[in-house]
Subunit: 178 residues, 2 copies
Amino acid sequence: MNTQDLCLGVLHLGDASGYEIKQTFERALSHFQSPSYGSIYPALRKLQSAGWVTQRIEDQDKRPAKKIYSLTHEGRSRFLQVLSQTEPQEICKSDFVLLAFFAHLLSTDQLAAIVQQHLNTIEMDLEKLQAIQGREDLPPGMRFSIDYGIEVKQARLKFVRKHLSRLLQEHQHYGDPA
Amino acid sequence: MNTQDLCLGVLHLGDASGYEIKQTFERALSHFQSPSYGSIYPALRKLQSAGWVTQRIEDQDKRPAKKIYSLTHEGRSRFLQVLSQTEPQEICKSDFVLLAFFAHLLSTDQLAAIVQQHLNTIEMDLEKLQAIQGREDLPPGMRFSIDYGIEVKQARLKFVRKHLSRLLQEHQHYGDPA
DNA sequence: ACCTACATGTAACCCGTTACATGATTTG
DNA sequence: CAAATCATGTAACGGGTTACATGTAGGT
């Protein structure tokens, strides 16, 4: 799904500015999508020209003014239509797995550093997700999607931790005389 | 990592044609990258102009001729350099999680169909990976990356299967009078 | 004095997918 | 006979990231 439709989705949860939309992605949705400002702001303008959102300006004290966007009726039905046509595919591009795949071209120290960095990244992502986990007020689907993200990240952590020392050992001795 | 460098990596495993490179991605690497012909063929031409690969033509009986590419010394060191500069990040874009997140906007039937489709997709991916699993002759890193892919996919399957009926039940009753 | 958060936006650039074009051969 | 496999390639199109530009306010 592209940034435009993604923004429509976030606005379905409530009015928001471009900045706030980005925050929402980072807090709750970063495990499956997180577009940058460079695509969010242009998307909002396009949504406005299409008549799917309206804009109002909210002045603030000691803060820059916000441009708050609201879904129109058309925007609402547009998002429902997009959702019903979206295939549940998952696209993963993992440079970590790639590096592991070509680990025989790296030193054991390099490999160890890569794995450690990967563990750290997952741990941080996990904390972000756990911070929003367990809210009773959320719809079941949202809770499911958050729990799913957590479970999959924990599976990664568990696997890497379990196989780390063996990997490094075998890596060090790979190519040794048989 | 972009298609050019990815091709360099595959060619590091042995000479291959564009078609064969694509096959390699689909068989062994699809869980983290799988570029299309539309990016592979142009990439190979660029690699050739850069002097990182050479091309030879291999005629075949009752088959179109192949253009086999081989890494040059420069190509080899170029890939090592790229590898050592690659950060182990993972980017996942999951329309499945997105659909789950907005499940309250869908009917229970739609949700059930989506989850089922997702399960089927994972099962197929898993079979592909398991087909190449357990080869003793592969370097430890390659085995690790394959096992990692399998483990993560199994975690997904397990989670979805475990929570499926509850999700659908809660979804059906969500919004009911408290 | 500097960094972070708040807040919006543009433009260059990179990059990839999809769809099309071509054509022989094998398999169901 | 139709569909899949082998084999290469192009072009249009869509889409996003990065980096830059601007400015205030609060914290260290």
